[in-house]
Amino acid sequence: MLLNRETYAKKWIIRPDGEEKVTGKLRYLTDLTAPGMLYGKVLRSRYPHAWILSIDTTKARQLPGVRAVVTAKDVPGMNLFGIAFPHQPVLCHDRVRYIGDALAAVAADTEELAEYALSLIEVVYEPLPVVDDPETALDEGVMKLHPEGNLLHRTSLQQGEMSFAGCAHIVEETYHTPRQMHTYMETEGGLFIPEADGRLTVYSPTQHGYKDRMQLARILAMAEEQIRVISSPIGGSFGGKDELNVQPFGALLALQTGSPIKMHNSRKESVIAGIKRHPMRIRMKTGVDEAGHMVAHQVRILADTGAYATLGCEVLNFATEHAIGPYTIPNIDVEGTSVYTNNGVSGEFRGFGGNQVIFAVESQIERLAEKLGMDAWELRKLNLRAPGDPGPMGQKIVQTEGASQVWSKMMESALWAKRAKLQPGSGQSPPSESQDPWTRRGIGAAMVMHGAGLGLGIPDHSGGRLELTPEGKIQASFGFEEFGQGLYAALTLMLQDVFGCATDDIVIVIGDTDRVPSSGSSTASRATTMMWRALQRLRPPFVHTLLQLASEWAGIAAAELATGAGGIHRIGDEAGTPVVTYAQLAEAAEAAAKPILAHTEFDYPTTPEGLVGAHYLYSYAAVAVEVEVNMLTGRVKVIQTDHVIAAGPVINPMGFLGQIEGGSGMALGFTLTEDAVMKESAYLRHNLDTYLVPTFKDSPHIIRVEAIEELPVGDTFGPRGVGEIGSVGLAPAITAAVRQATGIWVSRLPLSPEDIVQSIDWLERVEAID
């Protein structure tokens, strides 16, 4: 169904955390202050690659107002961090490997003083040759960035026999994707408070409070229970705050000084030190037979992971798995390589490696269709995976009709009707209403299959808790974080659905390790699914206890009672006054010293067979776009976008819509303008004046989002998350549309207006103007 406020009127609710945001009252963790707080700043490396000969902090320490200067020597525990494996130094002491490497951190009375103190720290470097090219990083004689060499990870996925012998057409192409920056509006920071009882409270945005706590405990040599991490609300993350950023420095300085420490990165520091989307170079050779059946698909992925691993292995695994898209191809040979360089660190980013390979594989389809003289959408259908087909790694997966549903649904859209009038792949511009003679329009489309959860072999634990508070509220506690995705709203809707209760019967607690159970990371589109599954498990025991108690209280059989607004109602009288209110039940429970609560722990469902990283649940998407290309400037403007998403029942329509629209906006930047360009491993763009994310003016005039909610009967997996899928398919749809408008194939993102202008025949351009 088309997603909007009319079609989903009943579930179209104002987000519970909205009012505080529109009034500016909400305190983000970087807005917090504490009496007597000091300011923390970090000294980053001057060179992308160098030996550190000495670090002299004497002058900085002597500066009045400077309260602490910490270096590697002051790290009491493990001087390393990393989500997947601890690998990145908190503070470097012998070598720096990228421009964001930290050498020292300072706490001072004011921010200016802290900044000034950094300039007084004397570091003697011996610069080393820079390894800035992932192509040559593995060559003989190139300096090793880590003892194990410059190879982080290799993947391979093979099925059938690799031979292009029987192919009628073969397309071979190399695709390049950019180093995209998360550009969350709130840069990293927080407040770090050493408590009187010896504990440490960390108020800092992260996607996984428990993981931060564990890592901080290791770094600080403290017990985990001694640290409390408060991790919401967050001004955007998109994967970028899953890894520790300023937390180790804030924590070290707080413990050293005994004072609260405030940190808040400048945009420039955020650019330099923050992780990015992996730039990838993807070579694909794909062959089809006469009829268009895909026969052989050879893929070589080269990912630039930068100086440290973070989730480089996992992202490459994901890219490898998704390199065949939603198709079945008998013979596949995918190899991935992720290499270390002195470039910025690449890590987790919305879409998780899918965006890069989907751009490549969908582009291949377009090129093959043209060779076949066939409509590309028909070619997709011909090769589309069918229900019953195994997953891309040959693994058992949860079957849905998603692939064919999104394929068919797209054809019903108005945008599609426009597209159908065009000649396939002719570079022919459709007739358009108010077009300037130098602009051309084109329509393109793409498909996506996207795995949810972390995949096989990676701990993917979750859990949750329900309790009736002394005030008579149903309190749901989860270890997830709110970074804009609308978790409060989703959970409110789910709780209302499960208990039939009113909004003010509900209390939600998230993002505080002292108050919530561990639920795993808020990542990989997993939070909504995990909360839904938790409630499925928590509901029966919790409701049972409530009804038992209510039955005793009211002298009515439990079977005649149900939860509802304000308390327990007689079945059939849900609209009336409750037989007993939640507050009365809470009182009764307290009197009986029997707290009402339920707790659950479980793992994200994974495939019983397959290779590491293989997913079990997939969602599907189709996206079509109409673009306008200015033939004089080479600028591409997306006019209209249609998304069809098959991800199970829609829990929170406003949130679902927002995730697809927002993901799509991010993909627009990935396709057209965003690239954190590096030269000799130094960033050339440090702020939003040169790193261009889409603005109002750049965004499409119309975005339609259609949700396919049906799941096969008996599917117990419920709603799948949609945090990522909207960001994946737009790029190939845009480049297909550009091809149609101009006849130009794009294989490098972000697509360059210069390339377009230069590819256009001059005479043809003159004709276009005439």
């Binding site: 009012e19 009034t23 969350y184 967050i234 955007g236 945009r267 603005t695 109002f696 005039h701 119309i702």
Partner: protein
């Protein structure tokens, strides 16, 4: 450190204030650090993102580019001063109802700019609305929810085509 005897006298959200600050201190820092009005956000510090937008005598300006002395004798309105009393401004209500926000970090600046547009030009064309809003970056919503809010709060923007 250089000391200053400069005292900024201006009105902030309708209240007269006198704050001793360096004359070149940025208004965004004054608001956040000295007055603890943290609704005004800072994201780029160079006038590109709009997170720090405030009204200066009713016109939207980036407070990260506004120095203390430039505000002397003038009227500054921050997000905290947008809604009169308890009631939300129609712009704020529309943002809520249409999903014009996600993480909310751009929202205060967005609401400030939108409020100015709403008051200055209640019937902008789409081009005018885009023009007015394109100094505010939102990384979460893809702007769609904000466009819906713009239409909902009575601004007659035609979005087609």
């Amino acid at each position: 450190m250089i000391n200053t005897t400069y005292v900024l006298k201006c009105a902030i959200n309708g209240k007269a204030v006198a704050i001793p600050v360096p004359a070149s201190k940025r208004m965004s820092d004054i608001l956040r650090d000295d007055l603890l009005l943290t609704g005004t956000k800072v994201s780029c510090e160079i006038g590109r993102c709009g997170a720090c937008m405030v009204l200066l005598d009713g016109k939207p300006v980036n407070s990260c580019l506004l120095m203390a002395y430039q505000a002397a004798g003038r009227e500054v309105t921050t997000i905290e001063g947008i809604s009169a009393g308890e009631d939300l401004h129609p712009v704020q209500q529309a943002m809520l109802e249409e999903g014009g926000l996600q993480c909310g970090y751009c929202t205060a600046g967005m609401v400030v700019t939108l409020t100015a547009l709403w008051e200055i030009n209640p019937a902008p064309t789409r081009a005018e609305a885009e023009q007015a809003l394109c100094g505010n970056i939102c990384r979460c919503t893809g702007y769609e929810g904000i466009f819906r809010a713009v239409e909902r709060c009575g601004l007659s923007i035609k979005r087609e085509g």
